[in-house]
């Protein structure tokens, strides 16, 4: 699934000197900036040398692909590095300690927010779920975390910010948190503890405190680099596939078609986007170039964000993993509540903001 277990933060065997690392990091960031600034002119020049008719659909599609591929990969690398460093301040165990015994409401807000910055991978969703519930984190609060963690992630936020603009990224952040907080709160109110698989409630564990020996700045930089290797190494194919699809939409799919299907006037477009998005699974990296192309072609923002959220937040593989701890009834409630939340948010946004 999308991203798995970034390398953990542990004390270095022998303290490394910080200076070379800082110099190296600053140099790499500078080089990044220079290359990034050169992308547009260089890709424009490459396209102009190709034997294609200027202004044609084909040229537009190729230009989009050649410029966006390196741009997206570079932005992703930067954001993933930054988030890798930020995440070195958090761990699943520490987040659990912060959430244990929290009441609903405040707990849901805290859980959803921590879901953004805590290292999370879907392969440890089940141990995390049991670890939280057995340590006394309320079920609804646990769900707020489990909904926010995959949905509002650094890849989604960073790419939206870079490709579509900070307004859309902030909207996504706000709506993602909103859906996670509300859905978790609703599930908590429903008191569905009895719908867990019976063995889950029997697990009694003593939450461990891992020795977090003073983590140095160098270790945090290394965590950022590890995150790049880990995440960018995994998702680059998705991104290229996404950009290729985006380039196709950009060059060939007519504006009228997208506007008619995903425009603001089509009331049924948000429910349709959610229903289509739930069984689909892609990670944020693959879906966002497509999102950008759809928006440029006149799709309504609420519809597009609803589509993206349902693709990322709800997926068949995750349900199969969670089936080990949740009964089918509880999974149905989970999908239903989150789906409705996304639907409400998307529809509301389309009504409130007349673009």
């Amino acid at each position: 699934m999308s991203r798995c277990c970034p390398a953990p933060i542990v004390a270095p065997v022998k303290p490394a000197s910080a200076l070379p690392w800082l110099v190296w990091t600053a140099g790499a960031l500078l080089a990044w900036g220079v290359i990034y600034a050169a992308l547009e002119p260089v890709s424009g020049w490459v396209v102009s040398t190709l034997p294609i008719e200027p202004g044609s659909d084909l040229e537009e599609a190729i230009a989009f692909f050649l410029y966006d591929t390196p741009k997206v990969l570079m932005l992703l690398t930067l954001v993933v590095f930054g988030m890798g460093v930020v995440r070195s301040y958090f761990s699943a165990e520490r987040t659990r300690a912060l959430l244990t015994g929290r009441h609903e409401g405040v707990g849901n807000v805290a859980a959803a927010s921590l879901g953004i910055v805590t290292p999370f991978c879907s392969c440890s969703a089940v141990p995390l779920f049991i670890g939280f519930v057995s340590a006394g984190v309320p079920l609804g609060v646990t769900f707020s975390f489990l909904i926010a963690a995959p949905m509002v992630n650094e890849v989604a936020l960073g790419l939206l910010f870079a490709l579509v603009g900070w307004q859309v990224a902030l909207t996504y952040l706000g709506f993602g948190l909103g859906v996670a907080i509300l859905s978790g709160w609703v599930i908590g109110r429903l008191h569905l503890e009895g719908w867990l698989e019976p063995w889950v409630l029997k697990v009694r564990s003593q939450a461990v405190d891992l020795p977090v020996a003073s983590v140095t700045l160098v270790e945090r930089i290394r965590a950022g680099i590890d995150a790049i290797k880990d995440i960018v190494g995994k998702v680059w194919m998705w991104i290229i596939a996404g950009i290729a699809l985006g380039a196709f939409i950009h060059g060939y799919v007519p504006v009228e078609l997208i506007a008619a299907i995903m425009g603001r006037d089509a009331w049924w477009s948000v429910p349709a986007a959610v229903v289509i998005g739930i069984p689909m699974y892609s990670n944020a990296a693959g879906i966002i170039p497509v999102i950008q192309a759809l928006l440029a072609k006149g799709a309504a923002l609420g519809t597009v964000i609803a589509f993206m959220m349902s693709v990322i937040a709800l997926s068949a593989p995750e349900m199969i993993i969670l089936r080990k701890v949740l009964s089918m009834k509880l999974i149905a409630v989970f999908v239903g509540v989150v789906g409705l939340g996304i639907l409400a948010v998307g529809t509301l946004f389309n009504i409130l903001f007349v673009a």
Partner: protein, 78 residues
């Protein structure tokens, strides 16, 4: 003889972690009894919230993500 448990539901990373631990022990000449704990209830009972986890002589030394080789050596020789 150290008692080492690798906690994880059998995902790729858990396998890799187990191999890393065994390789480090062989290299250092430390005798270990390696056990893979794959049962979710048993994993949860150790109190971790992220896998893979490593338990040495009953003490959790690691949780979440691949461990670093240098740290495995450190834990095994402690």
């Amino acid at each position: 003889m150290k008692d080492v448990k690798v906690l994880g539901p059998g995902c790729n990373r858990c396998q890799v972690t187990a191999h890393m631990v065994q390789a480090a022990a062989d290299r250092l000449g430390v005798a270990i009894a390696l056990e893979k704990v794959t049962d979710y209830a048993a994993i949860a009972a150790f109190g971790i919230a992220a896998t893979p986890g490593i338990v040495i002589d009953g003490k959790v030394v690691h949780a979440g993500g691949l461990p670093k080789a240098e740290n495995i050596a450190l834990w095994l020789s402690a």
